[in-house]
Amino acid sequence: MIEAINLTKRYEDGVLALDSLNLKVNPGEIYCLLGANGAGKTTTINLFLNFIPPTSGTPLINGIDVTRDPLEAKKYVAYLSENVMLYGNFTARQNLDFFAKLGGKKNLKKEDYYMVMREVGLPERAFEQRVKEFSKGMRQKLGIAICMIKDAPALLLDEPTAGLDPASAAEFIETLKELRRRGKAILMSTHDIFRAKEIADRVGIMKEGRKVMERTREELEYENLERLYLDYMRGGLGPESEERRAS
């Protein structure tokens, strides 16, 4: 559903932000990208959304090359950023309505919007409240409601739990689990190793634009993800070869 094939991005100033990334997120799977700031996580998401063109390689959404047919590809993907920023002068329902219509949804009723907002845990009083009065947690919930109402099979989440209080983050993780259960393919960038370990079906560690390690949930049961992450970040371990990974 979400796939990167040798995806590379070098900016005009020569900085190599992403170096031959290969990854694949299948339906009903959550893939967590871990890495420090500047590791290339957000660049990867930007490439999948066609916000920037790749230097080489192919980003695919539902088998569609994003660079060649971005509008078609975007029908199959929903996006949630670290800081969900919406139109402050509009109510939660109006924001939901705006993005739902842009996503192609028609004839939705007020009750349909209310139902999705209930599902993500927004309090009833917030439905017709202006978004500028929302806390960050409420905005994140509304952001995930926007993703849910689009009902896209692929989700791109850019550090969605950053800055959330523990309760909100826990609620958010539960929502993601539900989305996985519904068969969504979810690519999530995060700094939060513990959340990643809790929810991810696969984890990739990125460093300086390269994916240096990838583990499945089963593999991680026998390894300490935190120690692996820190070892890679401190430079103690080099990129894992395909052979080593296979063995």
Binding site: G63, K74, Y76, Y79, M85, L102, D151
Partner: protein
């Protein structure tokens, strides 16, 4: 669904909802933007300001117009009386030339677009020496002097022009800073549709306010006693409103373009405000100053004095030559007598005819050169001013509005053309063959009546320039074309800039 280009992921049976088409997507963006704009503080403040100032501006304009209309009626009545009296029966000499006067009526639409209407002459007189310019139509201590150039055109150009910029400066870069641009463009929304949506919203907001301003202006004019609600004036007001729409769209498109190029809202606002100040406030007066420096035109009274002195010199020369003819034909050099003239009339008339022709020819040549030089300088000055003002959409709009209202530079030029044409027709019909001439001999002079002067009804009538809507459109076409060009350029620039916009 479009063809999948590369497929290596398994394709799950998901039925994507059809994304909205280009125009529908643009309309979704436009509706949201429209609500945002119409409820914004900047729109409310400027809207209240402009709607509050409109009746005041119209009141000033109507007062000024009615004052000038009174002056016009006074002059026209005096001329009618003159034509009905002895002066109307025969035109000769200099004492009754007022009967030939071309009186310019004030333009009713100057109540909305002052333009040059009050700064053009009230009338032009025609004389053997050429055109004599009457006083300016403006009155001292007018209310307009106190309030400056406050008219509907000013409100649109300055105040609504500012609103167009304030609505557009953050339309793109503001959404980027807020973070909503990423959210919006993560949807299957073509970038062009996003910008078209912004354009539609801005156009509706600005045009709605513009329509209110013009409606209020027309109703205010009616209330203050000036009927503009029918016929040509209403058509012209409609055309001015169309020009104003292009102008506002032009500034809004400029705002979108800068907003798609600037790195931050602050930068966008600063660039646009500086552009607004230069284009709207600085360039028009600056263009006049530069044009005056490049091609100075001597003041009217100086040219008139020079013409009088020249004419006097050649007239005296001719009068002395005719006195010599009188002396030779009558043998009398101590006194001039009408009886002696009548006795030798045929011989004297035959011999002074070439002198009169030479005098008229020389006068036309010398005074004509002076006139042509002044006209050349004035034309060059106008050309320089127009070239500099072509750099500003605000100046293009001011020109278009004034030309459509009949208060513009082009309309003023058409008056001058009509006046010059009339002077040349009067030269042929009257001044080139003067019925009376003066001869000088020693210290004596005598005015001879060579033949009967033509009746006023035999002289060509003055034809004022056309004032209908079609003529107004023709006059305004260059400025309107320039305005359209600017609007098109800024819209195209906005689309190009946004197609390459880095939304990160």
């Amino acid at each position: 669904m479009a063809e999948a280009h590369v497929t290596s992921s398994p394709h799950i049976p998901f039925q994507a909802t059809a994304a909205p088409g280009g125009f529908r997507a643009a309309w979704i963006v436009a509706r949201r933007e429209l609500v945002e704009q119409l409820t914004s503080l900047r729109f409310l403040i400027i809207g209240v300001l402009v709607l509050g100032l409109t009746p005041l501006a119209v009141y000033v304009g109507v007062r000024d117009y009615t004052n000038r209309l009174e002056d016009y009626h006074r002059l026209a009545t005096a001329q009618q009386e003159l034509r009905a009296g002895p002066a109307g029966e025969a035109v000769s000499g200099v004492w009754n030339l007022e009967v030939l006067r071309a009186i310019r009526p004030p333009e009713p639409l100057s109540a909305l677009v002052h333009g040059l209407d009050a700064r053009l002459p009230e009338y032009w007189d025609f004389s053997p020496r050429g055109i004599r310019v009457g006083p300016l139509a403006s009155r001292p201590h007018r209310l307009a002097d106190v309030l400056g150039q406050l008219d509907v055109e000013f409100l649109v150009r300055v105040v609504l022009g500012l609103l167009a910029i304030l609505l557009a400066f953050d339309a793109v870069v503001g959404e980027k800073e807020l973070g909503t641009l990423r959210m919006t463009l993560s949807q299957p929304l073509p970038r062009a549709a996003f910008l078209v949506g912004k354009l539609i919203a801005g156009a509706i907001t600005l045009l709605a306010l513009l329509a209110m301003v013009f409606l209020l202006a027309l109703l205010s004019a009616q209330f203050f006693g000036l009927d503009l609600l029918a016929g040509d004036p209403l058509t012209k007001v409609g055309l001015i409103a169309v020009a104003a729409s292009f102008y506002l769209l032009c500034f809004y498109a400029l705002g979108l373009m800068i907003s798609s190029l600037a790195g931050s809202q602050k930068t966008s606002l600063v660039i646009l405000l500086v552009t607004w100040v230069v284009a709207v406030l600085a360039l028009p007066p600056l263009s006049t100053l530069v044009a005056q420096a490049v091609s100075p035109v001597p003041p009217v009274h100086a040219v008139e004095a020079k013409k009088r002195a020249l004419d006097e010199a050649i007239r005296q020369e001719a009068a002395r030559a005719m006195g010599e003819v009188y002396r030779e034909e009558t043998g009398q050099d101590q006194m001039v007598s009408m009886r002696l003239y009548q006795e030798h009339k045929d011989a004297i008339d035959r011999r002074i005819a070439p002198i009169v022709t030479r005098y008229v020819g020389k006068r036309r040549q010398l005074l004509g050169e002076l006139d042509r030089d002044t006209q050349r300088r004035m034309a060059r000055q106008n050309e320089v001013a127009r070239i500099i003002m072509a750099l500003s959409p605000a100046a293009a709009f001011a020109h278009a509005a004034a030309d459509l209202a009949g208060t513009g530079d082009t309309y003023a030029q058409s008056w001058w053309t009509a006046v010059r044409l009339h002077q040349s027709r009067l030269n042929a019909a009257l001044f080139d063959d003067p019925p009376m001439v003066t001869m000088w001999m020693r210290n004596m002079s005598m005015t001879l009546r060579r033949h009967d002067p033509p009746s006023i009804t035999d002289l060509p009538a003055f034809t004022p320039p056309r004032r209908d809507a079609r003529a107004a459109i023709n006059r305004a076409l260059p400025a309107l074309g320039l305005l359209l060009l600017y609007t098109g350029l800024f819209i195209a620039g906005g689309f190009i800039a946004f197609s390459r916009y880095d939304v990160r």
